[in-house]
């Protein structure tokens, strides 16, 4: 949104074909500074949601549900926002859904994501559950996406071996 010059900085590398290293930079890529790192703190000792990340490493996206009132929460929680008690059940989420809305980031990306521009993002209604998750949409260029398209949940590993989730639209890979 601004024409100011952009400064290239080391980025978290997503799973996939390795980016060609820039020839002018001999130094190894540094990790993203802690307070510019978007991913959740997932290491033991840094979060009480270890169960979520352990399950994500098994390829399953899960969240918490309150056994008292049935309230399904996103993101996963320690305490039910409805009845304020802390004994919650874990449930795996459906692995398919449909695009409720989408757009694409064509510029103005945050630090560490500039090399991924253009990328698509969307809100996905998970099948069979009243939950609409936001996430990256891969598999097809944004110009080939339509509201209502089927997408599948996908877990991916980051360059520093953390895990996160995104959605994949079936079809030909992005040109």
């Amino acid at each position: 949104m601004s024409g100011a010059p952009r400064t290239k900085r080391p980025r978290t590398v997503l799973e996939g074909p390795a980016a060609t290293p820039a020839p002018e930079t001999a130094a190894p890529a540094e990790a993203t500074p802690l307070l510019l790192d978007f991913l959740p703190r997932e290491a033991e000792g840094e979060t009480r949601l270890g169960r979520f990340f352990a399950r994500l490493r098994e390829g399953k996206l899960s969240t918490t549900r309150c056994p008292r009132d049935g309230a399904l929460a996103w993101p996963p929680r320690l305490v039910c926002p409805k009845c304020h008690q802390g004994e919650l059940d874990w449930v795996d989420l459906p692995e398919t859904g449909h695009l409720y809305a989408f757009s694409a980031v064509l510029g103005g990306a945050p630090l560490g994501m500039e090399a991924e521009v253009p990328f698509a993002v969307g809100l996905v209604d998970l099948d069979g559950l009243a939950l609409r998750l936001f996430g990256r949409v891969v598999g097809r260029p944004w110009t080939e996406l339509r509201v209502g398209d089927s997408v599948a949940l996908e877990v991916y590993r980051t360059g520093d071996d953390r895990v996160f989730y995104r959605f994949r639209a079936p079809g030909p890979p992005a040109a």
């Binding site: 400064t7 900085r9 978007f38 990306a109 809100l123």
Partner: protein, 394 residues
């Protein structure tokens, strides 16, 4: 409203834009402008200071900005001093705190100032900072920032109601045109026809560059006083007659409908009820056009037109001078730029200057008596509204 009556007795803005100066320098500039605009103001009688600043930690690597702003402006608050952070609505948050402090009797004369320095040599780092407004660990890793979120809002509005890019361009053209009569605006003396706007590059489809407010450096300040302390401020004032706020979600999963902003319906209804007026009594409005689609949905959620009727409301000229409710005569966030902490306060300055007939004639509302100011913040998950009435000091 309960408590003591409170009025804005004056205010000032710095130039908005890509400014070659630092956060503290912006605070000094706005201090100079404020004391020039309100010559009867004496620094020793300002007992409280509220500083709207969304993210000085990220943009200026500076916390504890309330005493910093006080020092830069030459103020020594003795009763209440605090920084107000509510992302895009930080400025209005500061005004609401000043209002509450004076209404309660804790403060007699307070300044609400908003300062934001957003343009950095590394725009990627600035974009990361902006992304922190969203649910950073859960929505952030996927690339959630304001443009793609409001783009999805626009996509749903187009799908559900048939809203068109041309209708979005009507809002942008109007607000840029008003900004051409505002020397402080980022896009002062820059002309944007609808055709030109529709040809600008896409930022987050379906939103183009001209549909999005900018990264802006700027500051604004207002002085508020209790009824008992108005006498020394001769001239028109803007009484705070109603205010309210509503927050209903943070993570995007919990947004519900993207196109129906129930939070704004609630807060506008309550603020107007507190003021004891209906929508029909309003003479103009300053609403949060962070994106063109926002202004359309704001017309609808305020109740000016039916759901989905925002595009038509704009295209029929209802938001123009002489229309049903002139909207964003200051130039809006689209034309003025959007220095997060300063925006809400610059809107209050516009209300005061409209009441005082101090704006250029090409954007002056004739003889206005009532105005409404709205800010949303984040992903439109919080709505803040104030209602002002014109009055006279002393």
């Amino acid at each position: 409203m309960t408590g003591r009556a409170v009025a804005v007795v004056g205010g000032a803005c710095t130039d908005f834009g890509v400014r070659p100066l630092t956060w503290p320098e912006l605070a000094q500039e706005v201090g100079e402008a404020l004391f020039r605009a309100v010559p009867s103001l004496r620094s020793e009688e300002v007992d409280s200071l509220f500083v709207g600043a969304a993210m000085p930690e990220r943009f200026a690597f500076q916390s504890h900005v309330a005493p910093l702003a006080a020092e830069q402006m030459g103020l020594r608050p003795t009763r209440l001093l605090q920084r107000n952070e509510l992302a895009c609505a930080s400025g209005q948050s500061a005004i609401r705190s000043a209002y509450a402090a004076i209404a309660s009797g804790l403060s007699d004369i307070a300044v609400a100032v908003g300062v934001e320095k957003m343009n950095l040599p590394s725009m990627a780092e600035a974009n990361s900072s902006m992304a922190c407004v969203m649910d950073r660990p859960w929505d952030g890793p996927s690339g959630a920032t304001a443009p793609p979120f409001f783009a999805m809002v626009a996509q749903r509005h187009m799908l559900e109601y048939g809203t068109t890019p041309e209708q979005l361009a009507v809002v942008s053209e109007k607000n840029h045109r008003f900004a051409n009569a505002n020397p402080h605006a980022q896009f002062y003396r820059k002309t944007f026809s609808r055709e030109k706007l529709l040809g600008l590059p896409m930022v987050a489809p379906p939103l183009r560059l001209g549909d999005c407010s900018s990264m802006t450096d700027g500051a604004a300040a207002v002085v508020l006083a209790s009824e008992e302390h108005l006498r020394r401020f001769a001239g028109p004032v803007a009484w705070v007659r109603g205010t309210s706020q509503y927050s209903d979600f943070h993570n995007l999963a919990n947004a519900g409908s993207l196109t129906e902003w129930t939070g704004l319906k609630h807060t506008a209804r309550e603020a107007l009820a507190r003021a004891g007026i209906g929508l029909d009594a309003l003479d103009f409005a300053e609403v949060h056009d962070c994106f063109t689609i926002s202004e359309l949905i704001e017309y609808e959620s305020l109740g000016l037109c039916p759901p989905g009727g925002g595009g038509r409301w704009a295209a029929e000229g209802n938001a123009e001078l002489g229309g049903r409710l002139p909207t964003n005569t200051r130039g809006g966030l689209l034309g003025c730029g959007h220095p997060l902490g300063a925006t809400g306060i610059a809107q209050a300055v516009e209300v005061y200057e409209q009441f005082a007939s101090k704006v250029p004639s090409s954007r002056q509302v004739p003889d206005p008596g009532w105005a409404l100011v709205h800010n949303l913040s984040g992903s439109a998950n919080v709505h803040s509204v104030m209602v002002y009435q014109r009055g006279e000091a002393g």
